[in-house]
Symmetry: C2
């Protein structure tokens, strides 16, 4: 099958491209390199060095003989999207191409507006391209578990059977997203649901947990195939960040008590989930939602796993929580649909963490400890970027320093 991966130069997009290419998909990737641009803006870098996209694709071809097509352009340019879909004619479009960091979206007004416009308009252009060119193209869209927030009831897979005053209906699960970024994904979900209902599109919305890990079988074949590994306070996800802090001999920075519970997923399972979704498409008109996570842990438990498994002593520091969120909450999530399609999860095991420690130790000399701690607070409407930038260059030409 022909699979187009939007955001194919990113942390997950690139390993997914290799994973599907290896398994016989005709793969093309599209990217505008905005994720690399955010690095420049924030003054940070992937801990593991990453090759340019053209190099990655060349190396993959040399190693495997497999071709990955490349489209360079911006999804907010509707004509670019339509032209690409018309030319490549995919069976499935896997859509990773969104600004994906909650703290980034909460820096200030400009970053919030950028996040919502970039994500919502890009996704709208994808929906219109599918509807205009071939409504049978299956959209596999990356959402986030953070769309749900932390309701005091079980979180179901996208829909909720409601009985109210003696009448019943199956309704979209109510969402209480916790950042301008998470809000943008909720907006996307509503737009996609409408496109399925109105134009008969078929879509799978994957509400993904927090991804951890860096290596997949395919990326390990050559250092130039490596995907990025973020540990900074803006783009680094919690477990990856803890691993880097342990290796650097820094305390693990837990926000508050660490009682916030989150769904997790191994990067290798992400790739397999995408394959399962793409190869088992939704029905025409169906808006299908899968909760793409394999287990739930509290942040304190994640820190504890690192403390228990890293070979040297590790301290834990509890920070004043930068996010506005419930410190403790009920969290019980249905996530059976992908298991029913055949997913065999890699649960968080010592083995995985050992391999992450090894990767981190190899590249520890590249780490900049000054970028790890959180700099963006939810209760501050206008956050300064890290000090290196707040005085001097104004990144994006739009940042207003405090």
């Amino acid at each position: 099958m022909r699979t187009l991966i939007l955001g194919g130069d990113g942390y997950l997009g690139w390993p997914t491209a290799l994973y599907l290419s290896e398994r016989g998909h005709e793969v093309a990737v599209a990217d505008n390199f905005l994720r690399r641009q955010y690095d420049h803006e924030l003054g940070v870098e992937s801990l593991v060095p990453i090759a340019p996209l053209r190099t990655r694709v060349d190396v993959w071809r040399e190693l495997t003989g497999r071709e990955i097509g490349v489209w360079v352009g911006d999804l907010t340019d509707g004509d670019f999207v339509a032209g690409m879909v018309e030319a490549f004619r995919p069976d499935a479009i896997v859509h990773y191409a969104e600004q994906r960091a909650a703290p980034y979206s909460m820096i200030d007004r400009q970053h919030a507006v950028h996040t919502q416009v970039n994500n919502v308009v890009g996704n709208l252009n994808v929906l219109y391209a599918i509807a205009e060119i071939d409504p049978s193209i299956h959209l596999v869209k990356l959402g986030t578990m953070g769309e749900y927030g932390t309701p005091n009831i079980d979180i179901e897979e996208g829909w909720l059977d409601v009985t109210h005053k003696g009448r019943t209906d199956r309704l979209p699960f109510p969402k209480q997203p916790g950042s301008m970024y998470h809000l943008s994904k909720v907006h996307d979900s509503h737009n996609i649901m409408f496109a399925c209902r109105t134009w008969g599109l078929r879509a799978t919305d994957l509400n993904q947990g927090i991804v951890y890990g860096q290596a997949t079988e395919e990326t390990m074949r050559d250092p130039r195939l490596a995907t990025r590994f973020d540990y900074d306070g803006v783009f680094g996800t919690v477990l990856n960040r803890f691993v880097v802090q342990a290796v650097l001999g820094h305390p693990l920075t837990v926000y508050g008590t660490g009682g916030q519970t989150r769904g997790l997923i191994d990067i290798r399972d992400t790739c397999e989930c995408i394959r399962l979704a793409a190869e088992n498409p939704a029905e025409p008109g169906e808006f299908r939602v899968f909760n793409q996570m394999t287990e739930s842990l509290s942040v304190a438990e994640m820190a504890d796993r690192v403390v228990q498994t890293y070979g040297k002593p590790v301290e834990v520091e509890h920070l004043d929580p930068p996010r506005t969120e419930k410190p403790e909450h009920y969290y019980n999530v249905a996530h059976t649909s992908l298991l029913e399609l055949g997913l065999q999860p890699h649960l968080l095991s010592d083995t995985l963490l050992e391999s992450l420690y090894a990767i981190t130790e190899e590249h520890a000399h590249r780490a900049d400890p000054s970028v790890i701690r959180p700099t963006v607070r939810w209760d501050r409407v206008r956050n300064a970027l890290p000090d290196r930038w707040a005085r001097g260059v104004q990144p994006r030409g739009r940042h207003i320093a405090d």
Copy 2:
């Protein structure tokens, strides 16, 4: 109190400005005249002639001695919004300033993207201006009953008490909006809810029904104070449109069987609802939702009222429905909050329709019958604008003709 009305040159914004000014509010209005621009794009005009905003304000001052401040600018310009809020320092911001026509948003991709960007970014900029400058400013935001769609359960005022697998929570009412425009309002609601939870803002989201009527006590004092009256297939709302069709001797165009039920409200009640919301603000941190409608009627019932009350014979024509919606559905809406604050509704009465007939007859010579019938179909991803434009000028420089 000081009240800033965004979209104060529009169908409802202008009468609201006069209503509040008359009742002692210090009023300023802001507008970018985009609504007048849409008229130029579509080649249509208000049936009742409308004066320029500066004339309106001058006439009001001459008649009453009351001053209405004017800000001309675009809410998608965040610096404009912040500067205005900083300078005027309102107690309440009444936010009407959005693209408000479902058919307009469904013309094609460009119009959908325009609608969502214009509405979502404008509203985000308002939220940020309040949060940065004075979080005690009360946001009174115009939403729509169409945000809810037509669930098979009672529609509550914004929140739903849910019991699921033995646990309970009060959750945002699940939304199933029926157009790119209605979606934009749902996005707004989620963004506002988040701002209240995270920054402690106070907001009232008014899910308004379909407004009918054209005259208020204040606008009737001088023809130059009149507000617009739309009857075209894109911006004209259903009951206003039926009145114009009756007067012109055209059949009333009912979409399908007319079994779709809608909430309605008299334009005079809209003004009073805004006053009640503004003078009785939400608590800090509260996201308050009122369903701003006074009665429910099916479209067939609305047509029947016109047939029964107009002095001459009126025919009804059933058209192939242009919208994708349920032809018949359950519809029972809670709308008690505004009544509890003191609203005394004008229900749809013969008197009101008589006055609408009189207004329409006075201006019937200005009517262009060719613009009344629906031109935008939901099941067509790319609609042509009316023929006068599809060949020749490309309005907005972006429309792609079929």
